[in-house]
Subunit: 583 residues, 2 copies
């Protein structure tokens, strides 16, 4: 037997008993003829003691232990004279009488401590060592717990976890599929699922009533900073439901998970119209941990002779509380920040609300104190506040102001990692016009149901969808919709999306066929599990919540994948390398 | 709201209340001015009643309902005069006052009943209808429950569920990999995992201590009758364990699952040496639901002048209880069965133990009554029994006899689907000689640890492994081993397997590297989840325990995958179609 106890288990109550521990050497210290070794495992750290005067050989052996050696120690639990109140095992130590080195270790390429000296690339190459660091290990354990609690809630609510296939059919549209050449079916390919969407709908047609799966999905997209080619969803679907049933069920899920794991009550989940989210926050995933909502100023700022405003579709501002004392340099910095290509604003208008009740603005030339006061009043500003205003095309101005609002929230410390604000965004448009391609695109996906009464709406662009997003701290954590369950309506939507009858039949004939054999009304949702875990862990990046992530080129640096395959594999798969590999 | 209750929920207690149900029309019956409609969902069946004299229009509407129509009915729960004791809802019916057709249905291509008239291909094409059949639906629900109970046990025992990547590195050997061309890394491919083996070992190096995952795995092999290209494993690994720790932990897992789901106590789990399994059952996965073990007859059957036996390495028999009355035709049939190419026996010797104490044998010419009696005594035969004997090369004779034993067990009804007999098979050889290739092959896999003391054994073929299989009713349900955790030993094994230093470094350098940074002793196991579910469901085939299985050509008949991809996809993936598609 390698151990009688873990390294996090022994307490004062255990004093006097003989134990065997196994684990990693965290560090060793020699002091006054004694050697102290901290031995670590997943469960904690225990102090081992060796005494030169009692057993010199054993103590010498301990002195030679290196960091991350794997050892087994036998000895007696003993009360410490020098207790460590920061450690659950801090009241005891082990007087060791037998020490075995189970496996030696080279000196790790970086410090295996919470604060490490390892750079990103080194940490990724030696991910198995990075995962030993307490904070990274705790992220993975948090992920395990979130998964189990989500499952518990869904099982308690009669959901069935049903596995759907990974080798499916390529239906290129939206994101790119990863494909898998078939050896047994020459010239044909499987695709890896971007989500189990059609399968979960078929499970509803089959009568499973409530389905979920915590499932890997795949998207071959150019990787942005925090995207992974493979990611995990909590994927759910229910039959005989309306939107309200779904909202209730799944805010319940998050409520349960946050309560069970963080001890946090999410409170009442706000509901916001998509239109309001865009108008007040400039985003369909507003960060509602702080106010600073948009105020539209067209009525008080236009037709006063300032041509930039007069020509704008929208003049919109935010009030940054307590920033009235920003220096010229700070304000210029903000303006430059807004002018970067990522934001693309042409400029930024400011109004400082001085403590003496006067106003100082970058557009003093065009607007008097009275007029600036009218703006300030409209924006609820107090002396000491700062108004920040952009103008232009409505969509662009909102987008720019949305970014500025987040930046000011960040600077003011209003986006706290340990505060959680959730809301539903509702009433999305069903379709958005792709003028270039001369057709409509789905806002959510092509299986989304238009809201009741859509038949009498003439302009397809005005039709709203029974779709919903769950937004947490400015991140879209989940999205879903009530689905179409009739063949006719589904055909109509495919047609609007510019698909020919043959094309929609080839790609989704099986689904439309299923709709003809008694498909029930149904709807569902999918949670971005990696992101949910990262937010619950108070982190920005999902990477440290995935045991073996890939880098921005889609490479696994540790195992060095992808890699070359040999000629025999090419031949068996009925494909050839394309000589023109230069892209 | 689509429903106030499910179709399996209402009881006599609910009589008098108004309810709304939604579900599928199972069948309709008109009888004496009344129409009865059985409405079905996952939870059960409820009888709806329509009365021509009360509401003729409504009743007419009900009369027009077809099988599998999706309906919503509102009405009052009422006590039945004609109760149905076979149905949990059989005490009540719903007097309907409002009926809505939510979705019509074409007539299904086969009967959606437990006993269906649909052939395999039709059922696979319309899998979403096949999944509506009670028995198939129950298989999928059983699978859900097995997964949840397995998880519960593992979580209660401190295992962490950790997800490992699906896009990994191709290391062709043993089974073929499915590969995925990388768009971002021209000329390179990912592979889909045949199992998370190396990743779970790295998780042990990382100190996660106890890992599990219920995870999809992929093997591009020619599909035998009951194999799928994608299958599911319960994959587990533990640190600081010896074989005994693993056996205890995982027989506990199966004990829990069988108790929780089947109410079955697996009893003490037998342990059998690989050598004994081969000697007594001719298989490393013996079906121990019945005895009929092999008896080796060399000492009593050789050197009596029967050349076939005299020349044989092994003469081995089984005693089929109560089969002494087999007719000549039956015996000839058995002999023919053994001579089929799948079995490949040259013949079959029989001895009938007559009720009068005499013996009748196909080798009467060579053996007298006394000699046949000696055989019978050695085999524990009684009057009325039948001895069946083969001879030849030891390995082949055992294999043939192993098949015959199963066949006789089947004919005698000794392989009961509702009886469960489990055992561990232990002490496998580490390696087996591939004479053709002039090298060793691993019996389990190359990461398996040789048993203590192996250094002093000269012939590698004599070294046993710390490997173990869990066998249930003649199926290998799980297999695993204690792993190598030292670089040197792992290098040695790769060398024995005929891998060059460069090759092993390229394929498994990351793992051997990890072994140098404090890898703990560890071991694990993987359960074939599809097979486990099938056996628990009392079925032979795994196919009906997988929601969307593929056929023997690896095709999904429902979605028609795999399929062609377009030129643009080929170009993006840096591959070309191979014109010589004819195989």
């Amino acid at each position: 037997m390698f151990r009688t106890h873990t390294c996090g288990e022994l307490r004062l109550d255990n004093a006097g008993i003989n134990v065997t521990l196994s684990g990693w050497v965290q560090r060793t210290r020699e002091f006054g003829g004694m050697t102290f070794v901290d031995v670590r495992d997943r469960y904690g750290i225990t102090q081992l003691v060796f005494n030169m005067s009692t057993d010199a050989d054993l103590c010498e052996k301990a002195n030679k232990l290196g960091r991350e050696f794997v050892i087994q120690a036998k000895g007696t639990v003993s009360e410490r004279t020098n207790k460590n109140p920061n450690l659950p095992t801090g009241d005891i130590e082990i007087m060791v009488n037998e020490l075995t080195i189970l496996n030696a270790s080279k000196v790790p390429p970086f410090l295996v401590e919470e604060e490490t000296d390892g750079g990103d690339d080194l940490r990724m190459k030696y991910r198995y060592l990075d995962l030993r660091r307490n904070n990274v290990q705790n992220n993975i354990i948090l992920r395990h717990r979130v998964a189990q609690e989500a499952r518990r809630y869904l099982c308690d609510n009669n959901f069935l976890e049903i596995e759907t296939p990974f080798l499916i059919k390529s239906t290129p549209e939206g994101a790119r599929d990863f494909v898998v050449p078939s050896r047994m079916n020459p010239g044909e390919f499987y695709a890896l699922p971007q989500s189990p969407q059609t399968f979960k709908q078929l499970l509803m047609v089959s009568g499973f009533d409530k389905y979920f799966q915590i499932v890997r999905c795949f998207r071959d997209e150019d990787l942005r900073a925090d995207r992974q080619p493979e990611f995990t969803q909590i994927d759910c679907e229910m039959s005989y439901v309306e939107q309200e049933d779904i909202l209730q069920m799944f805010e319940g899920l998050l409520r349960h998970v946050f309560q069970a794991i963080k001890g946090v009550d999410l409170g009442e989940i706000q509901r916001m119209d998509f239109d309001d989210a865009m108008r007040l926050y400039g985003k369909d995933k507003p960060d509602t941990r702080f106010e600073m909502t948009f105020v539209e100023l067209n009525d008080v700022a236009q037709n006063k002779g300032f041509k930039v405003f007069d020509a704008a579709e929208l003049v919109v501002g935010i009030c940054a509380k307590g920033c009235g004392n920003y220096t010229r340099k700070q304000l210029d910095g903000l303006t430059d920040w807004m002018k970067r290509p990522q934001i693309g604003a042409k400029g930024l208008v400011y109004v400082k609300c001085n403590e003496d009740g006067t106003f100082k603005s970058s557009v003093d030339k065009f607007f008097g104190q009275e007029e600036l006061k009218a703006w300030a009043d409209k924006m609820g500003a107090k002396p000491g506040d700062l108004l920040l205003i952009v103008s232009g095309n409505k969509e662009k101005a909102r987008k720019q102001m949305g970014e500025l609002r987040l930046e000011m929230g960040e600077r003011l410390g209003l986006r706290k990692a340990d505060e959680f604000k959730a809301l539903w965004v509702l009433n999305f448009p069903l379709l958005e016009r792709d003028e270039e391609a001369g057709r409509w695109n789905p806002c959510h996906h092509p299986f989304t149901r238009p809201q009741k009464g859509f038949e009498s709406i003439e302009n397809w662009g005005d039709i709203k969808a029974d779709a919903y997003d769950f937004v947490l701290n400015g991140n879209e954590i989940a999205g879903g919709s009530i689905r179409i369950h009739e063949r006719g309506l589904q055909e109509k939507v495919f047609e609007l999306l510019g698909m020919s009858e043959e094309e929609s039949e080839e790609k989704f004939g099986f689904l439309m066929g299923a709709f003809e054999y008694g498909a029930p009304p149904h709807g569902g949702i999918a949670f971005g599990f990696d992101r949910l875990c990262a937010i619950m862990g108070g982190a920005e990046s999902i990477r440290d919540f995935i045991a073996f992530p890939k880098n921005n080129s889609g490479r696994d640096m540790m195992i060095d994948a992808p890699s070359l395959i040999d000629d025999e594999q090419y031949a068996e798969l009925h494909i050839l390398p394309n000589a023109e590999l230069a892209d």
